[in-house]
């Protein structure tokens, strides 16, 4: 029991630290590409603390308050169901009691909690953002899940630990053995990280609308915290599934960072698509590749 508690705390802490460092790196990386200096790599940590320590928070009713809490609880649950390391008793959380399909569904708890809170705020522009987010979710989940299904079929299991254990050397990484699945998943994965070119406009950017439009103070802090944690959790999941998992923390950070660099580079290159363009894109290109993968993997073999 104590072991699980300590382990869970360690996982959450690791996720948080990696989260703000990765996000800080992202801001600086983008700035350098745009020939700016950009903020310090610690900037996200400072911003997050500032939000969490605000003295006043405006709410629009109970559901508005509980929405971010649901999202944060969903994020923590997701993190704990993803095994971070293989061949180790540490950083496992409760992953032995879950599986890949459960994790995919837990990833959706956040958007739905968000939808409840934003709807409760009564701001129509916020709800517009939520609808865009849910529409994008509908677009990305189909190729994403089909790619994951190819992996599950390959290993005949939905357990992340078993899939990770089966990739014992570089030659057995799913990236090498099942490159089509990785190609299918990569772009929907960027979309699930809310990365450009598939991002949904956040609150106070150039358009005054979006899911975050009404949140401020400590609630915004909670949302930011969970967002950073989820970024890392999804990266770790991809490392587990395609890059052979990791045996120690440094390997984990290195692999996750490599993947993050790849997705960041893609995001930095392409400008944002409209939501309906995103969905149409996902249902043609990645889904087309996925169908090709199914035909190759299932029908021809």
């Amino acid at each position: 029991m104590l072991h699980i508690l300590l382990d869970s705390l360690a996982m959450i802490a690791l996720c948080y630290v990696m989260g703000f460092l990765f996000r800080g790196f992202y801001r600086q990386f983008n700035a350098r590409l745009q020939r700016r200096w950009g903020p310090s790599i610690w900037q996200n940590f400072y911003d997050n603390l500032k939000f969490l320590l605000k003295s006043e928070t405006l709410i629009h009713g109970p559901m508005f308050f509980f929405g971010p809490i649901i999202i944060a609880a969903g994020a923590i649950t997701t993190v704990l169901f993803i095994p971070f390391l293989k061949d180790s008793i540490w950083l496992q959380g409760v992953s032995a009691h879950g599986n890949l399909i459960l994790i995919i569904y837990l990833l959706v708890v956040g958007p739905l909690g968000n939808a409840l809170a934003v709807g409760s705020s009564g701001n129509p522009f916020g709800v517009m953002g939520v609808t865009r987010g849910l529409t994008r979710l509908m677009g990305l989940e189909v190729p994403f899940f089909l790619g994951l299904a190819l992996v599950m079929l390959q290993h005949e299991t939905a357990s992340v630990q078993a899939i990770m254990a089966a990739q014992d050397s570089i030659a057995h990484w799913n990236l090498i053995t099942n490159p089509l699945a990785f190609a299918v998943i990569l772009l929907p994965f960027i979309a699930s990280q809310n990365g450009s070119p598939f991002d949904v406009v956040g609150a106070p950017v150039e358009v005054y609308a979006g899911p975050r439009v009404e949140f401020g103070g400590r609630l915004l802090g909670v949302l930011m915290t969970q967002n950073m944690m989820m970024t890392v959790a999804k990266l770790v999941l991809m490392v587990d599934l395609f890059l052979g998992g990791a045996s120690n923390i440094f390997e984990l950070i290195a692999k996750a960072f490599a993947l993050f660099l790849l997705t960041t580079a893609i995001s930095a290159t392409f400008p944002r698509l409209k939501t309906e363009q995103t969905v149409d894109f996902f249902w043609t290109v990645p889904l087309g590749v996925a169908v090709l993968g199914v035909i190759l993997n299932v029908w021809l073999i």
């Binding site: 969490l52 609808t131 189909v142 939905a158």
Partner: protein, 596 residues
């Protein structure tokens, strides 16, 4: 004495609504009713029928309770009782004759209940009865072919029949049950019927009557053992005939989901979502493996609970506000908190989100599809089940969040107790099944699987759902999520700072303006409209199946016109002709000396 009569009547009605429970608990052995000749009606309780009787036993009293409110409506009560009787006859029947009798009683009593609604139109009522009669006649035709092949009406495996006969039985019975389930393009009666039926009766239609179609479909593996594979061989890891069935289900689910998103009326949205949910069941039944059929059974159970919950809750809202369109409600969360939680639990179940049992059902179906290697079907199911999030969000946003958009929504109060009790019971059941998926598998699903000659799924413990592809633990999931929720809330309260509620609902970040009360701030109606810009969805929403049915009507009219051409204006001629024929044939026979 006279003052007590309504009360007595209501008590009697409630008591009768408990008969499915009584049947389920006490029926043992077989009860034979000799009919004519060598035929007899056989009534026995098979495990498969027992599962559907369980749904009936759960649903009937929960709907009867709010129905018994107010001045007693004797015809409605009588018809409801008749309906319950019909469904029990149908489920207990061990032969096709009993099944058909039950089916007919159910069809007619539900039709008469439907037209008691003040909203029922001629079109709606006609559509309902026409489709359901078509279903009944297909059933009749199927059972006659079955009889001609086997010489018996007993529901048993069809082993000695020729291929043509097997296909005839499969198609006729399959179509009969698919009409009841409402697959595309045989679904027209569902949105019309569920929409126009009395509000509480819609719960029965969606929750219980539609399940009789699923019961029929589950009889098909009994008739065609080896999970339909005997019909047309196998495709990948599953039966080919089932592959076709599964695609019908998946396309139904996708189209119905997008139709649901575009509805403006709560009950119509729920009707389309019912079609979509039963589409999943059909897909799973097509796979035919123990995992997928287990998922289908669990999905049937969850869908019954969810639809009873949602229809009863929205019946309460319509009762209190008189409004039924997303546009005319809004911000009921403060005034109807119980209804809000009911709909919240309902949509979590409908969307198949963990930790509620909808997820367990979806998980089994997904794993079943992966196991059968039918991955394209998996993608199709994923498409409709994520698109379902959007209509689920409409269901909660439209009535409960945002801004109140009508005077009735502004001062509504919680529905009466008789509506709230079923809501609370159903919420409790859903949560319990979510925490203990293993229990649901062991107690409810496995007996049915064993009866269908499939391997039981089994469960290591009550909380655990286990499959060869891995599983999950509902208790741990709920514990982790619950603790995380409590800890985050506690940390939030412990941190310094204060929460302040916005002074007015118009205190919004609104691009530098201050919105006023007359600004339309509720986004209930427009939501989802922009989806039409996505080519696939735009295409689906721009087409309807009314074209097919209009074509069918034209063809029928043309055939009728052709027949009418033969029929002279003066019936006397025909009658004379008939009399002449009838008179002359025996005469000729007599003249021949009767040696024919």
């Amino acid at each position: 004495m006279t003052t007590n009569r309504p009360l007595l009547l209501k008590l009697l009605f409630l008591a009768v609504s408990l008969t499915p429970t009584l049947t389920l608990l006490t029926w043992d052995g077989a009860w034979v009713w000799p009919l004519f000749g060598e035929f007899e009606l056989l009534f026995q309780l098979e495990p498969l029928a027992a599962f559907f009787l369980l749904l009936l036993a759960l649903g009937a009293p929960l709907v009867a309770l709010p129905m018994a409110r107010g001045t007693p409506d004797v015809p409605t009560y009588a018809l409801f009782v008749l309906l319950l009787l019909g469904m029990q006859v149908l489920l207990l029947a061990g032969d096709f004759i009993g099944l058909f009798i039950g089916w007919e009683i159910m069809t007619w009593s539900s039709y008469l209940l439907l037209i008691r609604s003040t909203r029922a139109t001629l079109e709606g009522a006609q559509t309902y009865i026409l489709f359901n009669l078509a279903s009944a006649f297909l059933l009749l035709a199927g059972l006659l072919v079955f009889y001609s092949a086997t010489g018996d009406f007993q529901i048993a495996a069809l082993t000695e029949a020729s291929t043509a006969q097997r296909w005839a039985v499969f198609v006729l019975l399959g179509l009969a049950f698919l009409v009841k389930v409402g697959v595309l393009p045989l679904h027209r009666w569902i949105p019309l019927g569920y929409d126009q039926a009395p509000d509480l009766f819609s719960a029965v239609l969606a929750g219980l009557i539609s399940k009789m179609g699923v019961y029929g479909l589950l009889l098909l593996p009994t008739l065609f053992p080896d999970a339909l594979a005997g019909l047309a061989g196998r495709w990948l890891n599953g039966p080919t005939a089932g592959y076709g069935l599964a695609w019908i289900g998946a396309i139904t689910a996708i189209v119905a989901t997008f139709k649901a998103i575009s509805q403006q009326d709560i009950k119509r949205l729920l009707a389309y979502s019912s079609i979509a949910q039963l589409g999943y069941v059909l897909t799973a039944l097509g796979v035919g493996s123990s995992l997928a059929v287990g998922g289908a059974i669990l999905q049937t159970l969850v869908h019954t609970l969810v639809k009873l919950l949602l229809f009863i809750t929205f019946a309460g809202i319509i009762l209190q506000t008189g409004q039924r369109r997303f546009n005319d409600l809004g911000h009921l969360i403060d005034r109807m908190p119980v209804a809000f939680f009911a709909v919240l639990i309902g949509i979590i179940g409908l969307a198949g989100m963990p930790p509620l049992p909808g997820f367990a059902a979806k998980y089994l179906v997904f794993v079943g599809l992966i196991d059968a290697r039918w991955l394209l079907l998996l993608a199709a199911m994923m498409l409709s089940s994520t698109a379902a999030f959007i209509y689920c969000y409409r269901l909660i946003y439209g009535p409960f969040l945002g801004h109140a958009n009508s005077p009735e929504a502004r001062d509504a109060t919680e529905a009466p107790m008789s509506y709230l009790i079923p809501q609370i019971v159903l919420m409790g059941l859903l949560v319990l099944l979510g925490i203990f998926p293993g229990w649901a598998i062991e107690i409810i699903v496995d007996p049915v699987l064993t009866a269908l000659n499939l391997a039981p799924i089994g469960a290591p413990s009550w909380g655990e759902l286990a499959t060869p592809y891995g599983g999950y633990d509902g208790v741990i999931l709920m514990t982790v999520f619950g603790s995380a929720f409590v800890i985050v809330t506690a940390l939030f309260w412990l941190a310094r700072g204060q929460l302040r509620r916005a002074g007015s609902p118009y205190d919004l970040s609104f691009a530098g303006e201050v919105p006023t009360a007359d600004m339309p701030l509720h986004y209930g109606a427009g939501m989802g409209r922009e989806l039409r810009r996505i080519p696939l969805i735009g295409w689906i929403l721009a087409h309807t199946t009314t074209g097919i049915q209009a074509g069918l009507t034209r063809q029928t009219l043309a055939t009728a016109g052709l027949l009418g051409g033969l029929y002279r204006r003066d019936p006397q001629t025909w009658i004379l002709l008939a009399v002449l024929v009838l008179a002359s044939v025996p005469t000729l026979l007599l003249l021949n000396g009767g040696n024919s």
